[in-house]
Symmetry: C2
Subunit: 104 residues, 2 copies
């Protein structure tokens, strides 16, 4: 995993944080499937993900419409439903507009 090379802002981000139950049967398969699906979406700019005690996934989108289309993707909705029901002890979705980007 590398840091996403996103364009000059503004663009949009979905910040998804979750705490997973253990075991979370079927989670890895779905995660791998979504990883492959994501880059094919219109307006997808990149994503970053890491999990320790908490999992954080940030995906970046050209426009709010592109972001919404991903939110409404059938398989993505299905994954969220299963996640809510089975995999996640807790989770939060935040929709944000990235206004600045820089390196240190």
């Amino acid at each position: 995993m590398k840091i996403s090379r996103t364009p000059n802002p503004p663009y949009y981000a979905i910040i998804f944080t979750s705490i997973k139950k253990e075991p979370a049967e079927g989670y890895e398969n779905m995660a791998n499937y979504l990883d492959k699906l994501l880059p094919k979406q219109k307006g997808f700019l990149g994503y970053e993900t890491a999990r320790e005690n908490i999992g954080i996934t940030v995906s970046y989108w050209e426009t709010l419409e592109d972001l919404k289309a991903w939110k409404e993707n059938e398989i993505h909705i299905k994954a969220n439903e299963i996640g809510k029901r089975i995999w996640y002890e807790d989770c939060t979705v935040r929709i944000a507009k990235v206004e600045k980007e820089y390196s240190l």
Copy 2:
């Protein structure tokens, strides 16, 4: 680490992603120090952090002014300087306005 209980949007976020060199001498000490410093800052709403191949830290702030004050905090600046010089192979800072928040 728990998911941050942030208020109703809008509020602001710093999304910091980094790839660490190994070893990164002094990094843990500084990270622990900043962890303690963060909650004392004005307008601080919470933060979430995880590291696998990539490290993602998202901190949440009441206003853009509060976020900027943290960016300009002396110790934070010092940490960034050392990070750039010694700890990080690559890193990106993104400033974002959180516009929506919900659970699944």
